[in-house]
């Protein structure tokens, strides 16, 4: 596995360079916005990557909570399957607002049981919690990029940095704040229940993701319609470049998550070593003080 990291790093660097070339040189210029629209090739893939990471965080957190009790562990598996199947069928049966593609909803909902079983298989026990903190932190980084590049794009196009009260922008900011609070909770809480509390917070935080994505259909907003899932349209050449850019960002996110995951494992090792050391120190103190106690008793 250690050998795979540098190879993956080289592939990612090549992909990112290729995506940059595609975004700045190959992609056609937008007739209305000119070249500034090219911010889309960083803004949108960052948003999709953040959503995907928060989704993984959600599944890992639910599974971590469910696995803490044998009864809920079994029930959660069936609930995950039921949510996937019922949600996918409902996407085609229930009439959706114009612009939302049922196939996009069905795919997303079906991903819940798929990810649930995959994470359960490859990240058992405490590894789920390690994965949850990893995806939350890297997700916050990508979400930060979305919140920074958005206003930089809005200024020349809308004439303002931020549209106060706009549901898309506000819900994205709330999403960022929820996950920042999740990280603060994990960083500063010493309670033994921190991991479970954080997992519960992550479950509620993840509920904001669909609100961010679908807010465009349900509320008036200045933000344009999404190009994937319905509503918005895009030149096929531009869409190709967007997909290349997202692929490069996914590779990069995977690499960063891998590094953060290893860091978290190491942090827990150090924490455990500290605990063992202080425990052995306490044992030796008890061993030293014991003869005194017995001698006092004999006096």
């Amino acid at each position: 596995m250690k050998r795979a990291f540098p190879i993956l790093a080289v592939i990612t660097a090549v992909l990112l360079a290729y995506a940059l070339y595609q975004a700045l040189v190959v992609a056609p210029t937008d007739a209305q916005q000119g070249d500034v629209y090219r911010i889309i090739y960083y803004h949108v893939p960052s948003a999709w990557t953040a959503f995907l990471l928060f989704f993984i965080n959600f599944i890992a957190s639910v599974q971590y909570l469910a696995d803490s009790k044998p009864t809920t562990k079994q029930a959660a598996k069936w609930i995950a399957v039921a949510v996937g199947v019922v949600g996918a069928v409902a996407a085609f049966v229930i009439p959706l607002p114009a612009g939302i593609r049922p196939s996009a909803i069905a795919t997303t909902v079906l991903a819940i049981p798929v990810f649930y079983f995959l994470l359960g298989k490859y990240f058992p026990g405490e590894k789920l919690d390690v994965l949850a903190v990893t995806t939350a932190e890297v997700g916050v980084v990508f979400c930060t990029i979305v919140l920074v590049t958005g206003p930089i794009w809005a200024r020349p196009v809308w004439g303002i940095w931020w549209a106060p009260g706009d549901i898309r922008l506000t819900s994205t900011l709330v999403l960022w704040l929820i996950y920042v609070s999740y990280l603060i909770l994990r960083r500063f809480s010493d309670s033994a229940q921190t991991q479970k509390l954080a997992a519960a917070l992550a479950v509620f935080g993840a509920l904001d993701v669909p609100l961010v994505y679908f807010s465009i259909w349900f509320f008036r907003t200045q933000h344009p319609q999404p190009v994937i899932g319905g509503g918005g349209s895009m030149d096929p050449k531009m869409l190709d470049v967007l997909m290349i850019s997202w692929t490069a960002f996914l590779f990069f996110a995977f690499l960063v998550c891998w590094s953060r995951y290893r860091l978290e494992i190491l942090r827990r090792e150090v924490e455990q070593a500290h605990a063992m050391q202080s425990l052995s120190g306490a044992d030796s103190r008890v061993a030293v003080s014991s003869p005194d106690v017995s001698s006092r008793g004999s006096q």
Binding site: Q33, I39, V148, T149, I152, A273, Q277
Partner: protein
Amino acid sequence: MNAIKFLYAAYIVTWLIHALYIGSLVRRYKSLRQQLKELNKGK
């Protein structure tokens, strides 16, 4: 409209954020390695 500077600003800021985060990961990793080394020495 001199919008091109906004495009460059967005791209630069993106990589600046990533660089800062990767830098923080490297710093934390080095610090933990050092702590682990000291703990092993103390055994």
